[in-house]
């Protein structure tokens, strides 16, 4: 029968081993040859876009990389999606929504009117374009409009 001492050894040993493996895998997945986060294409505009994204808590409604609040659309492939919908004018549509003084209300669901400057809106578009180029192990095909076309055919 298992003793308390053995149970404690199982807990401490198991924890230590799994933490070490976890840290090892973290180093492995961010090493140069295994990194697929599109890190090399991060520009200053992308970083500024990320800060705007965070300072307005966009994730509080939208999702990106599948993470967020499921109240508003997934934005991982938003440029592609709106390009298809608005005949190649995706970037301009995004900018106009972000710069608009009136609340954007698709199907009655309201978005905060952020009234961004042209520079801020351009940074956001750069951020979305960078996000759209990340290798997401197949998830990009699920949320991409082009993949949806393929699924339906």
């Amino acid at each position: 029968m298992l003793s308390k001492k053995q149970a404690r050894a199982f807990f401490l040993g198991g924890t230590l081993v799994t933490f070490l493996i976890f840290i090892g895998l973290t180093i492995y997945s961010f090493s140069v040859e295994n990194d697929q986060s599109n890190h090399e294409n991060i520009t200053e505009a992308v970083v500024r876009g990320k800060k705007i994204w965070e300072s307005n808590n966009c994730m509080g409604c939208h999702t990106i990389l599948g993470e967020g609040a499921y109240y508003a659309p997934e934005l991982t492939k938003v440029v592609d999606r709106l390009n298809m919908k608005y005949e190649g004018q995706g970037e301009e549509v995004i900018k106009s929504i972000l710069m608009s003084p009136a609340s954007w209300q698709p199907n009655g669901r309201k978005m905060v009117a952020y009234e961004m400057t042209a520079e801020e809106a351009a940074d956001m578009v750069e951020f979305f374009k960078w996000i759209g180029e990340i290798d997401l192990n197949g998830f990009d095909r699920i949320v991409s409009p082009l993949a949806k076309e393929e699924n339906n055919n």
């Binding site: 308390k4 933490f19 890190h39 965070e54 990106i64 009655g108 669901r109 996000i131």
Partner: protein, 447 residues
């Protein structure tokens, strides 16, 4: 109650009750917004504000509950008074103040906008100071105590690791991928790792008190359970890394280890039920027993089974970023952490106030209504989530078209949330009726 300083726990629990009620209010704001009634949008509560408040209040009321639990349990386990009661009250007030400033700030676009970790950076530092003060009080009390039990050590270890794991969430990154990667070090390793240690510690304390089973037996199995938790949960973090832009190795590692995560919760449920069956069944506080066994069983269903339902990479490819996650999250947080906090409150309140209200029907109604309501909410989220996955991810319908199709499920959600809220209100009334803690309760031996 054996030590006067245990009374400080009452005020942490009172703060928990207040924040829980407020959390529900913001939950309703979101529920109504989803069926088209988002009238508060113009009044300064757009959806993202309501959501940040809803989830952050959840974290703070649970943390306040855990802290209260520690202030109640540690003196009793260490067999001495808390080292400094005044500092514990300072810690309580500063915790409440940081919470209030954060919540008010969310209404004025003052946040970090990182899911679950919306608290702005300057407030993060205050949180760290607050938690350090709390840990100092708990650990020094334990160190100076007459005995150091496994229950107290596991509980303290959970609280200490929770504090340490808050730090990776404060690291700044330019990449959304890296940011998200380390954000999960906090969020996942909290809720599917060290918080389970805290839950295990509280559960162990309650089972020792309520069932009368030998401490050695209970604590031996506590080690096995927390061992299983870390063995599966640490590498199980990989299920958050499948589709966020990191290496495919996480599909294999996350898939295997997160599939093992339900084992820890199954072990916890079996452990609690078996200890109850072995026990003397003489303790009069049956209500605390309801919440204790309920926490172990509901956490297995919510965190274990419903987590497993969408944790495999093949399934998660379609469910990632949908309402299916909300389904799992609600029952998991409720079962694993909400119910265990309500369990320790139900156990300790009569001991601190000297009022034995646990025989009233109000307490039992609170238990059943809140649980039935939460199960209904989980089902509503689940149906909405599956509909969303099928229509949006399989049939390729537009997001907003799908949202219109799922509105009816949110009507059901609001109805079930009303049942849940009725249960919680009854619980809060019960809490209030107990009155304030008193030193006279020291004379009453209930264990």
């Amino acid at each position: 109650m054996k030590y006067k300083s245990q009374k400080v726990a009452y005020w942490f629990f009172a703060l928990s009750m207040l924040l829980l009620v407020l959390q529900l209010v913001y939950g309703f704001v979101m529920g109504f917004a989803r069926i088209g009634f988002d009238n508060l949008h113009e009044l300064g509560i757009p959806f993202n504000t309501a959501r940040a408040v809803h989830t952050n209040l959840l974290v703070v009321w649970l943390l306040s509950g855990f802290m209260g639990a520690a202030y109640y349990i540690i003196p009793e386990e260490a067999q001495r008074e808390l080292v400094n009661v005044k500092l514990a009250y300072v810690q309580l007030i500063s915790l409440a103040l940081v919470g209030v400033v954060a919540v008010v700030g969310y209404h004025f676009n003052y946040w970090e906008g990182r899911k679950f970790l919306e608290i702005p950076r300057p407030l993060d530092f205050l949180v760290v100071i607050n938690v350090l003060l709390f840990l100092g009080l708990i650990l020094v009390t334990l160190f100076k105590g007459k005995r150091r039990t496994t229950t107290a050590l596991v509980l303290s270890m959970g609280l200490l690791f929770a504090a340490l794991l808050y730090l990776p969430g404060m690291l700044p990154f330019d990449s959304q991928v890296t940011d998200s990667f380390f954000r999960w070090w906090v969020v996942h390793l909290w809720v599917e790792g060290v918080w389970e240690l805290i839950m295990g510690g509280i559960l162990s304390f309650l089972l020792i008190k309520l069932t009368g089973v030998d401490r050695e037996v209970i604590e031996k199995w506590l080690y096995v359970i927390v061992g299983l938790t870390f063995l599966s949960g640490v590498l199980g973090t990989g299920h958050h890394y499948y589709y966020i832009g990191v290496n495919k190795i996480w599909l294999i590692v996350g898939g295997i280890f997160s599939a093992l995560e339900p084992l820890a919760f199954l072990a916890m449920a079996l452990f609690a039920v078996n200890m109850y069956r072995k026990g003397e069944k003489k303790h009069p506080n049956k209500l605390a027993l309801y919440w204790t066994l309920g926490a172990a069983i509901v956490s297995f269903v919510g965190a274990g089974l419903l987590g497993f339902a969408h944790t495999l990479p093949q399934t998660n490819l379609y469910t990632h970023g949908t309402l299916v996650t909300a389904m799992h999250a609600h029952l998991a947080f409720w079962g694993a952490y909400g119910m265990i906090v309500l369990a320790i409150i139900s156990y300790s309140l009569p001991n601190m106030t000297g009022r034995k209200l646990y025989l009233s029907s109000r307490g039992r109604a609170a238990f059943w209504l809140s649980n039935i309501g939460m199960i209904g909410m989980t089902v509503a989220f689940g149906v909405a989530g599956v509909v969303q996955v099928y229509l949006e991810r399989r049939l390729g319908m537009e997001f907003m078209e799908v949202q219109k199709e799922t509105e009816v499920h949110f009507v059901v959600l609001i109805l079930c949330a009303s049942i849940f809220t009725t249960g919680i209100i009854l619980y809060v009334i019960d809490f209030y009726k107990h009155g304030k803690p008193t030193d006279e309760a020291l004379e009453i031996k209930m264990d």
